[in-house]
Structure formats: structure tokens, C-alpha cells
């Protein structure tokens, strides 16, 4: 039921809709639509942002926003791809909910993805003196 609601509300913004099992849904959106989609899921349908997973896919970056609908236990995984590997950028969701503040900071320092509009995009877990341009979770990262 909630799946239909999400589908009807977001319509053509959804691409590659996959229902892996009744409680795990994956779909892709364009990164320009992120704010709007997050707004619909959080404000209208009352979902909760579990976390964001950032992945380095060699030729692009992938971000998965895990939204949980707690009444039925479904997780809607919203996928976006950042094709520009040299300057990956996406809108911050901080003005929508506080939860994304630390999550985005972690992804920023681990993968080097820039969240536009984030109020305080600083290191969260890594030391302040961590060398610039070194991102531990990128696949080309070496320990030297």
C-alpha cells in the first residue's frame, strides 16, 4: 500500500524500481530531484532517514538514502549517481532534518563528496590535520 503511495506521488521521477522482498525497495532518481523526493518521503509520508551509504564505483559515486517507514518496516532505498568523479556534488538535506548533519559530514570526509548548503561541512571522525584530498573509503586510497 505504502509502495503504491510512493509510486503515485513520485511517478516519473522513479527509475529502476526493484522490490527485492516485501520490506526492501530500491529505486533510482536524478540527483536534481533529491530534495523534492526527500521532502515527500519525510514530510508527507512520514518516513525516517536511517542513514546514507556512499559507495565509490570506480567510474562514479553512488549514494543510497535509506528511508524507513516504521509502521510497516519497509525500507525505501533511494539511489543517486554522481557521474562527475572529479567534483562530486549533491544538495544537503540539513534544512529538512537534523539527522543528515553528521551523516553528510562523515560521507564528506570519507569519500570527498561535497554537500551543497551544509552549514558546517567539517571533519567529524578524522583528525583535523588529515591531509587534504585523501579520502579513506575511495577505492584508490592507499595507506602511504
Amino acid at each position: 500500500m505504502i509502495k503504491d503511495k510512493v509510486k503515485n506521488r513520485l511517478k516519473e521521477k522513479i527509475k529502476d524500481w526493484v522490490v527485492k522482498n516485501p520490506r526492501r525497495v530500491y529505486f533510482t532518481i536524478e540527483k536534481e530531484n533529491l530534495k523534492e523526493v526527500a521532502n515527500v518521503l519525510y514530510k508527507e509520508i512520514k518516513m525516517r532517514l536511517c542513514t546514507i551509504t556512499g559507495i565509490d564505483n570506480e567510474n562514479n559515486f553512488e549514494l543510497i538514502y535509506h528511508f524507513s517507514f516504521d509502521k510497516t518496516g519497509e525500507i525505501f532505498n533511494v539511489r543517486i549517481f554522481l557521474k562527475n568523479k572529479n567534483n562530486p556534488e549533491v544538495d544537503s538535506l540539513c534544512d529538512l532534518f537534523n539527522a543528515s548533519n553528521w551523516i553528510e559530514r562523515e560521507i564528506y570526509e570519507m569519500l570527498g563528496i561535497n554537500f551543497k548548503g551544509h552549514p558546517n561541512l567539517e571533519h567529524l571522525l578524522l583528525n583535523k590535520n588529515w591531509p587534504k584530498g585523501k579520502y579513506p573509503l575511495r577505492k584508490d586510497y592507499t595507506n602511504e
Binding site: 551509504t53 543510497i64 518496516g73 537534523n98
Partner: protein, 408 residues
């Protein structure tokens, strides 16, 4: 207006068992702003997991936390099982639930003790930790370890619970019940606890939702979320139990909620034991050979809230990406609003009220009077094994009579 001053708590401070840095900005006695700095404990486990075999990761993630040590491997094996689209045998699920609930009781009691200690009520501290000790003995009896039980495994559990030990578990849980009831009464009656915690460090429902607060922190503020009910894993949907939700959002509600949850957990454990008696013995795992390409999500209700794991496989023997989100990551940030507006003396208990992960994994070392260590690591391990065996013999001796009767 008085001048603003900064009071640092941390990164190493007697009030904290783990390094975190809180910068309290105060006006007189009142805290007006808080800055949190974390990362002193960052160990890069997500990166480490990418370099380990699927089975090894189970034991690496167990080391993330020393208190809720089973929650991470549990969430991880659920994520891999979600990727594979498989279900472990019934028996394995019940054993997982027993471990999970025992852990919840020991974790909540540990926190209750610390909370008592922070408000200067050391009697609670000693009582709570005394009550927690038999639970750790149970863990030692079941898994061989007081912490880091290493019970989880992709496809099932590593070890069966010996039916001879059911009685010991039942006995301990039943003996714990009156103690928990006593704690409930103490918290409800005691004027000191009332005064120190009622109406202090309030997290409103709106903030709880906005910060994405989880577990007891959210449930004490009236947000009804519990992964065990919402997205039932293992066999939580097969037994009858209820979620505890309180509405005040203050420290008092958080204390009371955790005690009530312990009572609920005790009844879950007893119900799981009943089920274990009914189902066939020995089936504790489904063997898993290959992990195909794909992705999976596993989440469990750790004592502190939802523990979230995401794994992705490309078909090789290592995960390409393993994302871990522990509940404290979301909960600690709520301090930004709960500490402000109250006095400095309230800050200690408020900062501790979300139950940030403290580590208590070290076992004892023996020193001579001159301060020289007289036991080596190997000797300690030997002693530990001897103690486990002694515990087993003790429990079995106590229950011998019952077992003999049962066999007839």
C-alpha cells in the same frame, strides 16, 4: 547579561568511559550551547571489512562495541542473509533472540548503574552491577565468553545452547525478576532520583524525529519505534510481547523505560526457552557456500536503538562495501538540544542518558604487591577456561536432580 564561559568535558574525563569531547558554553550555571567533537575512537572498521572474508567480517564487527557486542554481528548476518534471500533454521533464530535479549538486560543494567553513579547515588550503581553479574555468568555458560560471545554466523549460530543449561537460564532470569521490580519501585519512589531527573534533559518528540533518535532515547520521547516490532527479524513476530513507550522525554522517563524493557526482555527469554524445548534439536545452521553479487540490509534493535548494516557483494569472497550505522551515531547528536537550558550539574547525567557506548571488555589481571604482573596472558586464558568449566559443573550439579527427574 553575564559573560559566556567554556567548560570542557573530555576528551579524557573521569565522567566518561570513552573519549568524546563536549564543550559546554555556559552563562553562570546555565548551559547555553554545546559543541560535540567525536572521532577519538575511529578505527576504520568499514574499510577493514572490505579487506576481510565474508565470515571474518562477522567477528570484526563484533569488536565495534564491547557492550552490545552481539548487535553488530547480528545485523551483519541478517544483511548477508537478506542478500542471499535465505532464512536460518528456527532453532538458530530462537538462540539469536535469547542472546540478544540477555544482552539487552545486561546493557540496561550496566547503564542503570552508571546513571546512578552520575547522580551520586552509588547504591543503585552497586545493586545494578551486582544484578548484572549473573547475566554475564550465563553468557559464559552459553558461549564461553562474558563479552564478545561470537555466537552469530552467516546462516545460523556457531553453538547450540545445551538443554542442560535451560534450567540455569530460567533460574537466573526468575531470580532477577524481583530485583528488577525493586529497581522500578526505587525509581518511582525515591525523592532524590525524582529531583535529579524529573523534567531534566527533555528531548521533545519533534526533536527526536528530526534528529532521527533511536531506541530508548526515542521511545522515552513518545516515538513508537522498535525494529523488533516494526521490521521483525529472527522470530520476534512469533512470540507475544509489547513495546514500552513513555512520553515525557526526560531522564526519568529514560531510566524507567530501560527498567521496564528489562522486564519485557526477561519474559521474551522465557518464551524463547519454551519454544526451544518444542522444536527439533541440533539444527542450528544452514550452510552457506557462495555469496552472489547483490546487496542486502540488516537491522536489529540493539540496546541503544536500531543498528543498521548494508552490504554489497560483487560475487567475490569479500564485501565491496559494508556500511555500518550504530545507534549512538544518531543519539549522541540529540545532546545538542537536551543539555542546553539546564545547569552544569545536570549535564553529566544528560550526556550519559542516551547511553553512549562505553567499553567494559577487559577482564582482570593479577598483580603482586610490588605492582609486578604475576600472570601471563596465556595463564589468564587458562584460568578463564577453568572458570567456565567450574561454572558449568556448578550449574549442572544444582540442576542434576531436576534433569534426572525429567529423564524418567
Amino acid at each position: 547579561m553575564s559573560k559566556k564561559k567554556i567548560i570542557p568535558i573530555g576528551p579524557y574525563h573521569p565522567l566518561q568511559e570513552e573519549p568524546e569531547f563536549f564543550k559546554l558554553i555556559v552563562e553562570g550555571e546555565k548551559v547555553v550551547e554545546l559543541e560535540i567533537e567525536i572521532g577519538y575512537n575511529h578505527r576504520g572498521i568499514e574499510k577493514l571489512a572490505e579487506n576481510k572474508h565474508w565470515d571474518q567480517v562477522t567477528f570484526v564487527v563484533e569488536r565495534i562495541c564491547g557492550i552490545c557486542s552481539t548487535s553488530h554481528p547480528f545485523a551483519y548476518v541478517l544483511a548477508v542473509e537478506d542478500l542471499l534471500g535465505m532464512q536460518p533454521p528456527q532453532r538458530a533464530s530462537y538462540i539469536r533472540m535469547i542472546i540478544d535479549e540477555l544482552q539487552r538486560i545486561h546493557s540496561h543494567l550496566l547503564w542503570l548503574g552508571l546513571a546512578g553513579h552520575f547522580i551520586g547515588y552509588n547504591t543503585i550503581w552497586m545493586w545494578a552491577w551486582k544484578a548484572r553479574e549473573p547475566i554475564l555468568d550465563l553468557f559464559e555458560l552459553i558461549s564461553g565468553n562474558r563479552q564478545h560471545y561470537a555466537m552469530m554466523k552467516i546462516g545460523g549460530v556457531r553453538k547450540d545452547i545445551d538443554p542442560q543449561n535451560y534450567q540455569a537460564i530460567r533460574k537466573t532470569i526468575k531470580e532477577l525478576y524481583p530485583t528488577l521490580k525493586m529497581f522500578e519501585k526505587v525509581v518511582k519512589d525515591d525523592p532524590v532520583i525524582m529531583k535529579r531527573t524529573k523534567g531534566v534533559g527533555v528531548l521533545t518528540k519533534e526533536y527526536a524525529i528530526s534528529f532521527g533518535a533511536l531506541g530508548p532515547t526515542a521511545r522515552a520521547s513518545g516515538v513508537n519505534i522498535d525494529v523488533r516490532k516494526d521490521d521483525p527479524y529472527a522470530l520476534y513476530d512469533k512470540i507475544d510481547w509489547s513495546v514500552v513507550v513513555l512520553t515525557d522525554g526526560d531522564i526519568y522517563a529514560k531510566i524507567l523505560l530501560r527498567i521496564l524493557e528489562c522486564l519485557e526482555s526477561s519474559s521474551i527469554i522465557l518464551k524463547c526457552l519454551e519454544s526451544l524445548d518444542r522444536i527439533p534439536k541440533g539444527e542450528i545452521e544452514t550452510e552457506v557456500f557462495d555469496i552472489p553479487a547483490g546487496e542486502g540490509i540488516g537491522r536489529v534493535e540493539a540496546p541503544r536503538g536500531e543498528c543498521f548494516h548494508y552490504v554489497r557483494s560483487d560475487g567475490t569472497n569479500r564485501p565491496v562495501r559494508h556500511k555500518i550505522r550504530a545507534p549512538s551515531f544518531m543519539n549522541v547528536a540529540t545532546n545538542l538540544v537536551t543539555v542546553c537550558g539546564y545547569t552544569i550539574s545536570d549535564a553529566a547525567i544528560t550526556l550519559a542518558a542516551v547511553d553512549p557506548c562505553y567499553c567494559c571488555t577487559e577482564r582482570g589481571a593479577v598483580f603482586s604487591k610490588s605492582g609486578k604482573k604475576i600472570l601471563t596472558g596465556e595463564e589468564l586464558i587458562k584460568l578463564s577456561i577453568e572458570k567456565t568449566e567450574k561454572l558449568k559443573r556448578l550449574y549442572q550439579k544444582q540442576n542434576k536432580f531436576n534433569f534426572q527427574n525429567k529423564n524418567i
